[in-house]
């Protein structure tokens, strides 16, 4: 039976509207066979719980599911305090309603930055506990006993030592008149029955039998299908197109022209794609036509020694450098990266004179709704966004450019139209992780340990556009995340040299966010210093992490599991990277074999993680493996280039990603912790690139400072 609930949609929507004035009502995904009585009003004590008179309890998911397992984790938190079993619940996507569903830490309805578990942990348990108290109160009143004589168990209120027992659904009328408790005591972690135990994902069955609905699977009545060509040049425009060749294709009904794109509409996407391929489109490349990769890299190089804005300044770095020379300097260069989520960008929109409906999978519901309102000129409350499962997010679906574009097209189409991007459009019109360079400068003391650390961060400011509140005096705080290193060094400086992508080339958030940007230079830099000092890289880090006990704990566990102290044969090497990201602490050890020809193979990756209190250990393992493979793809292959003001690569042939045959065993170990839960979606990614290059150094003596890893640069030293 499905965990997702569609049959009581109208009922839950009504229940929902009691406490809120919203029109972006919740889309319920999946299907539940048993009907709910038409007149039944579910008990809706808060935004997250809907208890019908009979059948399963609906839990409304404030964060979106894009693979990270949040639906299961949130359900576990609610179930823990509500005292229900996971097979007694169904799940609903939340509608666009930041008042009710904003992440408490972010202040908006955003799923990203590994904020979901951290934002939800207290809120969900309190929502569950408050509801349980109301249900117990209702039963106590009906039975004329003290609430203290009752307990909640598996969806029932039970009389302790007595015989009376009532299902939650039978108590909802009485519970609705119970006061909503304000100050709710929560269980101590030691009495958790659900949280911390491995649980099967609640979304597995639909995803295994093909019934799960992603944005691309939306099929509203009367939908037509569009293929789209967006001007390949940054800020370029459509000059002209003759629509005849497309209109001659069977099934094609319309060619839509907008300023920056052409769309062909048909009765199936295949015909639309065929029609689009038949067109000769005359693009005006605009002022960006001359932009080429070499020039972008030259600008980045020039910024290495240019002006920068101060971020961190501890001790006296300049004096330390003068006193302790020689000064060691390393330049690291990271490429332009795509997200390449498996579900290509798509969005279905129905624009009517007085309303607009959007079917999409988005990480950012409120902006999705606003985007459609902006294009249509309709008031926000006339726009309904139906959110879906996301076929991968990784930060790509934190931007709403695809919704804007689809709505522009839909304005010219009768009825709903599904706009599906080709993989080529998806890669050539991403919100890229732009070029990021780093200059790490350090001096060592007599004991070989660093006395000074200076990190110049060169790259764009995504936050200046995307979340200006996360900048300070022109410094992008996300871009600087972790730049100062976690290591105990008395004199530290970090500064920001902003170097933007060319106009019209969108830059955005990418898995691991700022830490993925800074941990490679930091972890390679510290590894280089250990090498110069002639100290084992594990010992070197240990000495410098005495004030970072959680990072040190993860490092020690990883080292033990990797057998760090055992010798490796010639041609093999191990490399370390540690990562602190979104409240979690990870240590990664990669083991590689490098052949005499310089070709290398990753033999295994060990990751130890302290993510605080664990909700679902199975998800922690899965998310670390996931983050590692994402990082592996970038380290091995990730590189987008620009020519003629356009992205060159276009599909998995010229923009490859890691496949199963390139994925080593990934062993995950959890450091037991009772600290508050940290994020787990990001922390697996940042350490992969540096752990690999540090391992290649250990195997060969070659220091690689540019990604993706170029095997031709590997020499035995």
């Amino acid at each position: 039976m499905s965990i997702f609930d569609r049959t009581n949609l109208s009922v839950s929507r009504r229940g929902f509207l009691i406490g809120a004035s919203l029109t972006g009502a919740g889309l319920v995904i999946g299907f539940r066979p048993q009907p709910v009585a038409a007149q039944a009003q579910p008990f809706a004590p808060n935004a997250f719980i809907r208890i019908p008179p009979e059948g399963k309890i609906s839990l409304v998911m404030p964060a979106v599911e894009m693979g990270q397992g949040i639906y299961t984790a949130v359900a576990m938190m609610l179930a823990e305090e509500l005292e229900v079993d996971l097979d007694q619940v169904v799940l609903e996507h939340a509608p666009a309603d930041p008042k009710q569903y904003a992440n408490p830490l972010l202040g908006d309805q955003i799923t990203g930055g590994s904020f979901s578990v951290r934002g939800a942990y207290e809120q969900m348990r309190k929502s569950g506990a408050a509801t349980r108290i109301m249900l117990i109160g209702a039963a106590a009143r009906e039975w004329g006993v003290s609430p203290d004589a009752l307990k909640a168990e598996a969806g029932h209120v039970v009389e302790t030592g007595g015989s009376r027992k009532a299902a939650y659904g039978s108590l909802i009328a009485a519970a609705a008149s119970e006061p909503v408790p304000q100050d709710v005591p929560l269980k101590p972690a030691s009495s958790y029955k659900v949280i911390g135990k491995p649980a099967h994902r609640l979304d597995s069955p639909e995803k295994v039998n093909g019934t799960a609905k992603f944005g691309i699977d939306a099929r509203p009545d009367g939908v037509s299908y569009a293929a789209i060509a967006i001007c390949p040049h940054f800020n370029g425009k459509l000059r002209a197109v003759d629509e005849k060749p497309a209109m001659a294709v069977k099934g094609v009904s319309q060619v839509v022209r907008i300023d920056e794109a052409v769309a062909v509409v048909a009765n199936n996407t295949g015909a639309a794609r065929k029609g689009l391929a038949a067109l000769s489109i005359d693009w005006d490349p605009g002022p960006s036509a001359a932009i080429a990769q070499a020039e972008l890299e030259r600008l980045m190089d020039a910024a290495i020694d240019g002006k920068a804005l101060p971020h961190i300044n501890e001790g006296d770095v300049m004096k330390a450098e003068a006193d302790n020379g020689p000064v060691h300097e390393f330049i690291y260069r990271m490429p332009i990266l795509t997200h390449s989520a498996m579900e290509p960008m798509n969005c279905t929109v129905h624009v009517r004179p007085d309303s607009c409906e959007v079917w999409v999978g988005t990480q950012i519901m409120s902006r999705a709704r606003q985007a459609a309102a902006d294009v249509t000129g309709l008031p926000l409350e006339k726009v309904v966004v139906h959110n879906h499962l996301l076929g991968g997010g990784f930060g790509r679906r934190l931007d709403v450019d695809g919704i804007t574009l689809a709505t522009k097209i839909a304005k010219q189409v009768q009825g709903p139209v599904k706009v599906t991007w080709s993989r080529e459009e998806d890669i050539r019109h991403d919100c890229y992780r732009y070029l990021n360079y780093s200059r790490v400068t350090a001096t060592l003391g007599a004991d070989g340990l660093p006395v000074s650390w200076r990190h110049r961060v060169i790259g764009p400011s995504v936050m200046a556009r995307w979340f200006p509140g996360f900048t300070k005096d022109g410094v992008d705080l996300d871009q600087m995340a972790g730049a100062e290193s976690p290591y105990g060094i008395p004199n530290k400086q970090a500064d920001f040299a902003r170097q933007e992508a060319p106009d019209g080339m969108l830059t955005g958030n990418w898995r691991g966010v700022g830490a993925t940007r800074n941990i490679p230079p930091v972890e390679c830099g510290i590894d280089e210093l250990a090498g110069i000092a002639g100290v084992d890289p594990l010992e070197y880090r240990r000495k410098l992490l005495s004030n970072k006990p959680r990072l040190l704990g993860a490092l020690n566990l990883a080292a033990e599991k990797a057998g760090w102290s055992t010798a490796l044969p010639k041609g093999k090497g191990r490399g370390i990277a540690v990562a602190e990201d979104f409240g979690s602490f990870a240590a990664m050890i990669a083991e590689v074999t490098v052949g005499d020809d310089g070709k290398f193979k990753t033999d295994r990756i060990i990751c130890a993680v302290d993510c605080g209190l664990v909700i679902n250990p199975d998800t922690v393992e899965a998310q670390i493996q996931s983050g590692v493979v994402y990082g592996l793809s970038a380290a091995l292959y990730g590189r987008i280039t620009v020519a003629n003001g356009a992205v060159v690569e276009g599909n998995f042939d010229d923009a490859p990603v890691a496949r199963i045959n390139e994925t080593p065993p990934i062993e995950v170990f959890i450091v037991p912790s009772t600290e508050a839960p940290g994020g787990i979606g990001e922390v697996g990614t940042p350490g992969v690139a540096p752990a690999l290059t540090n391992a290649i150094f250990a195997a060969t003596g070659t220091r690689l400072r540019t990604w993706p890893i170029n095997q031709n640069e590997i020499r035995r030293v």
Partner: protein, 161 residues
């Protein structure tokens, strides 16, 4: 195989999908993928790349795993087509799906229809696949969530029966 003439004189194609017949009136070079998803409405089969590089669109035609994004509908007409929606009716498909559930392979889930179709074809052809066999077949299916370690484990579990 072409069927009777339609009103506009063009021959529709007769498809047999999961045991059900569909007459579809599209050009013969339209990829099977879009006919399944848009014309017939079976959306479990996914679009990922359009050039047979990612495997998200994998279905079985005549028992063979094919990339439906590059398979013209004319080539699939008249042959039995099986999609993710019905793969559980085959013994190998059922075992693979159960292993996927037991091990919780899925994350975002988008590529998993194709992974399961490829893994089922592998198991049907090779009841005891080695790691190298798994690599050879499953390297055609990309997963950006990195579920590869669990895919490997699930195939081995399904092979054990």
């Amino acid at each position: 195989m072409q069927g009777t003439a339609s009103a506009d004189g063009v021959m529709p194609y007769d498809l047999s999908v999961n045991g059900t017949k569909h007459a579809v009136d599209v050009d013969g070079d339209i990829p099977l993928l879009w006919v399944l998803r848009d014309t017939i409405g079976l959306t479990g089969t996914k679009f990922g790349c359009g050039i047979a590089m990612c495997g998200a669109c994998t279905v079985h035609v005549d028992g063979q795993a094919v990339r439906s994004c590059v398979t013209p509908v004319s080539e699939a007409a008249g042959k039995p087509i099986t999609t993710i929606e019905a793969i559980g009716d085959t013994p190998e498909g059922k075992r693979i799906q159960q292993a996927w559930l037991d091990i919780d392979v899925v994350q975002c889930g988008y590529c998993q229809s194709g992974q399961i179709m490829s893994a089922t074809a592998l198991l049907a052809a090779n009841s005891q696949p080695t790691d190298a066999d798994i690599d050879a077949v499953m390297a055609g299916n990309i997963c950006r969530c990195g579920t590869y370690p669990r895919i490997r484990a699930a195939i081995k579990q399904a092979a054990r029966g």
